[in-house]
Symmetry: C2
Subunit: 222 residues, 2 copies
DNA sequence: GGGAACATGTAAGTCGTTACATGATTAG
DNA sequence: CTAATCATGTAACGACTTACATGTTCCC
């Protein structure tokens, strides 16, 4: 990675939510984009200093003691840097999933073991869904007038959709494991065909739900 | 990260597919778990040496020249190490998505810009789905008798489900963007309610598809 | 003979986590 | 008074990417 995204994340938080300390920034990240980004203090504090040195942020409270809270505000320059970065297409990297790798190598573990991993993933996915769902309600309640409302909701929606997908996958994975356990490869293949059939059914159904968005699109064109 | 998973990925590939060179290992990773893991040569080659030094792998062809292909095979010791690792629960890390962050900070970009990012994601998701789908067909054709069949299919299934989720999310994101563009926050909120309604509808429908897997489960119990 | 793909490897440098050190403030 | 939480910061280390250097083999 030629350029770290960390500094821009810090700038973005300060830009959206006003002056914040390193500690507060971390909390805000966890509670907003926490499903898709994280920063450690070991990254945040040195980076804040660097941003301040470059003039992209400035200390908001000049009267801070040595171990006291120091809030930073984004500067005009920082805003420009943030805007410049925001326009660039995102770097996409394959997310590394150790779970996926361990399942792929499942042969070298015991079946109950693999099953347990998937069940853990199921619990994790359910919880992630609840968190995203709660976050969405909170956003609707608190940011109903915010200029970022649509963006915030797109992110909570991503959390919901992805968590739901993870949940659905765990169910399918368990059904395949069951099939393998009970009927070997033949049953596994049969189960895969069932899943494909289920997919075909749901594709047919979901075509209906796009009716509502069509109305919106018409408005945009006029 | 206390312990890298890279060495175990190399061991796993050698364990599943027999002796391979660094170059081949990379190709196999890309074509199998490529959606969920990747390794660079800068990782692979030094790591192979370390694994060989520890006796977890050994060079399969002793007669290799300086710049010739050197294949490695997993040893008994390596297999034990791999099995030990396989049993441990996976470390889970929040996948860092720069796309999500950029959208969250969408206020600082221009709307067409954000839209373009999401449309790129849509294309990427569609392509990922096709790749996963093709991989599944290949697995069904080539590994129908493999002891890992169920595990391989669980991974291709993960690729399909996740790619599909990403696709569905982009559509929703675009509908929210449209709403914001056309009717501001009020329309956005309306659109979110529409999405929730669509969710409720599909939850009701999808309950049916678990009928098939129930049959399998019954078999397992007996 | 030349280009594409195959193939191995190193060096530099960044990125990022973890563990540690330190202290202030608040609630019970 | 003491535990939890708030709060800032550093140091060490490991992981990983990127760019570079080098050479082979195969096919046109």
């Amino acid at each position: 990675m030629r350029e770290s995204t960390t500094p821009y994340v810090l700038l973005g938080i300060l830009g959206l939510f006003g002056p914040k300390s390193g500690y507060e920034i971390r909390a805000v990240i966890d509670q907003s984009v926490g499903h898709f980004w994280s920063e450690s203090f070991g990254q945040i504090y040195p980076q804040l200093r660097r941003l301040a040195d470059k003039g992209l942020i400035r200390q908001a409270d000049e009267d801070a003691g040595p171990r006291e809270r120091r809030r930073f505000a984004i500067t005009e320059q920082g805003l420009e840097a943030l805007e410049g970065w925001s326009r660039q297409p995102p770097r996409r990297a394959i997310p590394r999933s150790e779970l996926a790798v361990k399942i792929f190598f499942g042969r070298f573990a015991e079946l109950p073991n693999v099953r347990f991993m998937i069940e853990s993933e199921l619990r994790s996915a359910k919880q992630a869904f609840e968190v995203a769902d709660a976050g969405e309600l909170l956003t609707l309640a608190e940011d109903a007038d915010d200029a970022s409302l649509a963006y915030f909701l797109i992110i909570t929606e991503l959390g919901r959709v992805l968590a739901d997908a993870r949940r659905r996958w765990t169910e399918r994975a368990l059904s395949l494991l069951d099939a393998a356990d009970a009927g070997g490869n033949r049953a596994v293949i049969e189960q895969i065909h069932d899943l494909r059939a289920a997919d075909a059914r749901s594709t047919r159904t979901s075509g209906r739900s796009s009716r509502k968005s069509r109305a919106k699109k018409k408005e945009t064109r006029t």
